[in-house]
Amino acid sequence: MLLEVKNLHCMVDGKPILKGLDFKVGRGEVHAIMGPNGSGKSTFASVLAGNPKYEVTEGEVLYDGVNLLDMSIEDRARAGLFLGFQYPVEIPGVSMANFMRMAVNARREYLGEEPLSAADFLRLMRDKGAVVELDTKLTNRAVNEGFSGGEKKKNEIFQMAMLDPTLAILDETDSGLDIDALRIVANGVTKLKRPDNATIVITHYQRLLDYIVPDFVHVLYQGRIIHTGGKELALVLEEEGYDRIINEYNK
């Protein structure tokens, strides 16, 4: 197992959000997490990434066999955990190139590799920018500053491509994308797929899953996974909404 989450509980500002979440991801798998607004999807992603706002009160998370919750935010990232933010942050004055060079080299150092030369780094930027058809003008600008909503999301996938993660968690990367951008982003994610890495996509819409075909679809509700199915579950949910599954769970 690449990721094993057992009975995870967490609080934010004294309010319990995750209430006994169980979840497993194997290498090579694609998981989709769906669920109503406010059910705890972003919270779950944040806890995995190590956001200090969220306090884990119970449970266990193993990442590649080690206790993820003991690791610093940056060590989780260096060990290959990537979070595509629902709301990417603008960092005025910090160039994408500078930021990415530090990020890529931090990961390489963690893996015991030499830092990239300037030429190799620029080549990597160009190649990966092409994967998501990200305008090179954007990579010359400050991180997310003045990017449109869709450009920010593309930029998340670009960074994912640069960092070549083992476990990528994409939080509503499809929202705010036009049809072409959605296809580009989804194809980008698909191109990055390998037998030894895994992807968790958090989404509200089945259409993303037409491109990134999931092996499992989970429903998160009130801080727990209440139902798991195959890729066809997304179609069912799109048709009938969450009511039936929630009612069954409440029984």
Partner: protein, 432 residues
Amino acid sequence: MQRPLEEILSELYLSNIDMIGEGVPSWVNAMRSGALENFNLLSLPSSGNEDYQHTDIRRMFAGEWETYFVPSGEIRAEDRVVPANGYVVDVVNGFCLSDELTTLDNGIVYGSLRAAMSTIGDVVSKYYNKIADNERAAVTALNTVFAQDGAFVYVPNGVKAELPFTLTFVGRSDEQAQMCFSRALIVVEDGAEADVVIAHVGGGDRGLLADHVREVYTGTDATLKITEVKSTGGEVFSVNGNYLRQECGSRVDMVNLWLGGGVTRVNAVTDLAGADCESNLHGLYFANGTERVDVNMTVNHLVPDCRSSELVKGVVSGEAVGAFTGKVYVAPDAQRTEAFQQSRNIQLSETAKVYTEPQLEIYADDVKCSHGATVGQMDEEAVYYMRQRGLSEADAKRLQLFGFVNDVISKCSGDAACECLAGLAQARIDEM
């Protein structure tokens, strides 16, 4: 009872009057007595004075200072915080190292101010002490009383300086706590162009009080880029009077970096005296530990159709104090003025203090003026975001701070100076 400071300083002048006036033409020395009178009338501001509430000027001058009225000291390798590029003038404790003037074929003159006063008095007298405000600023009047030398830059009508000017002011006190006065006069005449880098460096263990006045004049349609950095070590008190007068259609891009060292008080006054001027004034300060930086900037729109833009950024940490007071004055007939002012600050510790106060005085009705001031902390969301990409917390904070100051740094004139100042700023960030 202790004698008033004004009396002590007046006596210091009167008892050294011969030495101070030596080698300087009489028209300059004649200005000293008038300035002394002004100084005594004004008296050094107390901290009760609203304009000086963040810097105790009286306490600075009340120290046990030694003043030498003859040249001393030398320039050392470590004083080259910016590379000595182009046309170089070095001033140590108020005196130009070589008592010489260089005159280029195209008419450019640079070197010792004292030498210029003697040899091209007709040029210097048109500008010297004509821009500085001896009427309102006691520390400037005091400088006029005592200043014996400094740096002089003269770019005559229509000449474009091919190389940058690098002026280095070293203040050093190896044996005794020292008070020194220095002066810079920069004249860029009609249609001329120049690029000037000024560094205030040095320090020393014994303490230093440096009273510096910089007069800058840009003639009609002149263009001037000026970058000034203070980067001193140890306990240095700096009092700077920076005066700029711009004539019609001239353009000035100025960057001031106060990278630290002791206490810094700046009075910067810009007079936009001819129509259609553009003045872009950028500033950046770092204050850490018990350092204080107190910047007082005034832009006077005296005539119609000028544009000014001020952006001053500050990063404070430890128990430091940063203060910015920005005054924009728009005269009654200065129509179609555009004046923008921004003060942005990051406060890294709760014990550090930031005071920021914009003051607009507008007497014309057809103007576009705006001002803004922010004091914020580090953006924790951004730090989290960067850490999620693998940067250490320290690197994420450094990168964010560098991002914050970068828009000021990137406006420094000259690639070499800009690069080296970016390095200095980075080093400063690493200490914060």
